[in-house]
């Protein structure tokens, strides 16, 4: 049976300094430092630095290591904080980035993705109170500046090491190429290499223009549809972490839910070897752009064996397989009730897209944004490439409540404000993130370093103690909740864990 699809979302945000000079790397550090200092002031809680022991971004899932092919992914001099909700908040390149804690299902992924937004929003407020008069750091949850520069929203899924990587690449690609019909965040204009910026008035995806390879290790140039980074952050003999770089950051909660939920189901099917190769594309790179560039959803793409299909037809095919999989195998790997709900919503979003899209304007970002862009263009009689339409595109993703257009677009929500509020400080209960988050909240003074698969404690005169967390589904509330409640010191915790 497929492994539980433990998953998480990493978002690189766009950042702008307004009312002052500033470079983006410094601004990103200021933003995160402002948050860390702000919460410490408000709650007298500390923050802990990241431990790079386990970072191997140049290890390739196909079985080799590219030593000099990549610049270090993370500059250690930049800010890195681990939060009590189990998330990592840091500067990557010239962007603030948040990795949610590991969660067990798509609904939890949405809750922590929303919490990440709230944390960024609070960071902006803290930064405003520190910066000189009128200066402001503004953060955008998008993936492109409209000028050929892109930054990612990555997903991660736990996979069995035993599943051949070549099979994963072959069988997940059709979903990665076509899921944009409901996961696309929408974009005014075009940034594909060799294309005219105005050659496409409006497209489904922020990211599709930037994919140039079918499979590979890169994440910042020549981006591949399937990324091969092999850095499991857990027991490498049993697991791999599929690092997905092909998605858009979604403002719509339901879009995030469908993005993670459908992908987790398709990956479970691959692991249980029930998906097959029916929808293999003749040219995935051409297909991902062709589909993105056609909001009518009528464009067809070529499949192996000479047939052609629309993105919706391929999605209907995948959904049908998923429904059969639910019957034959159940959906325990993705959470039974969440999985069943994802299947229902997957079906209804495809039906809504097929009937013209208006029905899904409260779910699908590119449809919601497209209504604003089209409506505004028609009202003011604007050309397709008018700067105001590009401004609407950017401002859809502005995380300032008073400026954000997405939150005015009538999007449906999935999680309550109270659920998001608790996810800002409290970890998920059903993965090892629980242990990480609870320990950070209770014993921050004794934790000298943290990363995805271990915590390092300083409990006084003895050598530092590394507590490994190589099993993503251990260290949950069920396993260690009572223990963490009972102990009063880190020393006692370490002693009882060792006992």
């Amino acid at each position: 049976m497929a492994l539980p699809k433990v998953c998480g979302i990493e978002t690189e945000y766009g950042i702008v300094v307004r009312g002052a000079e500033g470079n983006p790397a410094t601004a990103s550090s200021q933003l995160i430092n402002a948050y860390v200092a702000g919460i410490a002031r408000d709650r007298s809680a500390g923050a802990v630095t990241w431990d790079f022991e386990d970072e191997h971004p140049a290890t390739d899932a196909r079985g080799f290591t590219l030593d000099d092919a990549l610049a270090p992914e993370v500059e250690t001099t930049l800010v890195n904080a681990v939060l009590t909700n189990g998330a990592r908040y840091y500067v990557d390149h010239a962007h603030p980035e948040m990795s949610t804690p590991e969660v067990l299902d798509a609904r939890e992924a949405v809750r922590f993705d929303r919490a990440a937004e709230e944390i960024v929003r609070r960071s902006m407020a803290y930064a405003r109170s520190i910066l000189s008069d009128g200066a402001e750091l503004v953060v955008y949850k998008n993936n492109s500046d409209g000028k050929g520069n892109s930054y990612g929203c990555h997903e991660n899924y736990l996979m069995a090491r035993a599943t051949p990587f070549g099979q994963i690449v072959r069988q997940i690609t059709p979903h990665f190429v076509t899921r944009q019909v409901f996961t696309g965040a929408g974009k005014v204009g075009c940034e594909a290499p060799g294309s005219e910026p105005d050659g496409v008035a409006y497209q489904l995806s922020q990211r599709a223009d930037f994919f140039e390879e079918e499979v590979g290790l890169e994440t910042t140039i020549k981006r591949p549809i399937v990324n091969t980074r092999d850095e499991p952050h857990c027991d490498p003999k049993k697991y791999r972490r599929l690092h997905v770089i092909v998605g858009d950051a979604n403002m719509s909660e339901v879009a995030t839910y469908l993005k993670v939920g459908t992908t987790a189901i398709v990956l479970a099917m691959i692991e249980d070897d029930t998906l097959g190769d029916d929808w293999m594309l003749a040219n995935p790179v051409a297909a991902i752009r062709r589909i993105s560039h056609d909001p009518s959803l009528r464009a067809t793409v070529r499949l192996h064996g000479g047939r052609s299909a629309t993105a919706l037809e391929i999605q209907w095919g995948l959904l049908e397989r998923a429904q059969k999989y639910e019957q034959s195998h159940g959906l325990a790997a993705v959470g039974e009730s969440v999985g069943a709900d994802v299947l229902r919503r997957w079906e209804s979003v495809l039906a809504g897209l097929e009937s013209g899209g208006d029905d899904v304007a409260d779910i699908v970002d590119w449809v919601a944004k497209g209504r604003l862009v089209d409506g505004y263009r028609e009202r003011h009689g604007l050309a397709h490439n008018d700067a105001r339409l590009k401004a609407i595109d950017l401002q859809y993703h502005d995380l300032r409540l008073e400026r954000c257009l997405a939150r005015r677009a009538g999007l449906s929500t999935l999680v309550s404000d109270a659920e998001v509020e608790s996810a800002i400080t409290e970890p998920p209960t059903s993965t090892r993130a629980y242990f990480r988050g609870r320990c950070l909240a209770k014993f921050a003074d004794n934790i000298v370093a943290a990363n995805w698969d271990s915590l390092v404690f300083d409990i006084g005169d003895e050598p530092l103690r590394r507590v490994p967390m190589m099993e993503p589904t251990r260290g949950t509330a069920e396993h260690v909740g009572a223990l963490i409640d009972e102990v009063t010191t880190a020393r006692e915790l370490i002693e009882r864990l060792g006992a």
Binding site: E12, G14, I15, V16, P24, D92, H93, A94, H95, S144, D145, G146, K147, G148, N149, S150, Y151, G152, H154, T219, T220, I221, I245, E313, W316, L319, E320, R344, E347, S348, L350, A351, E354, D358, A361, R371, L372, G375, Y376, R379, D386, A387, R388, K390, A391, I392, L394, Q395, E402, R403, L405, R408, A409, G410
Partner: protein, 67 residues
């Protein structure tokens, strides 16, 4: 394609089974009107909150490439 059509009908059936609302034609045009009115309000709001100098704003929104 036949299988594809059959799929499309499934949501309606499910909705009937669970008693959740089903859209009939008048409701659709009514909700269409409502959608249009909402969009009009929304466009008014965009006029209020959109960056005042769109051209400068769009030009100055430059990011370093990331992952």
């Amino acid at each position: 394609m036949a299988e594809h059509k059959q799929k499309r009908q499934t949501p309606t059936r499910r909705d009937e089974e669970t008693g959740v609302e089903t859209d009939d034609a008048p409701a659709t045009s009514e909700s269409g009107e409502k959608l249009k009115a909402e969009l009009d309000d929304l466009l008014d709001e965009i006029d209020e909150v959109l960056e005042s100098n769109a051209e400068d704003f769009v030009k100055s929104y430059v990011q370093k490439g990331g992952q």
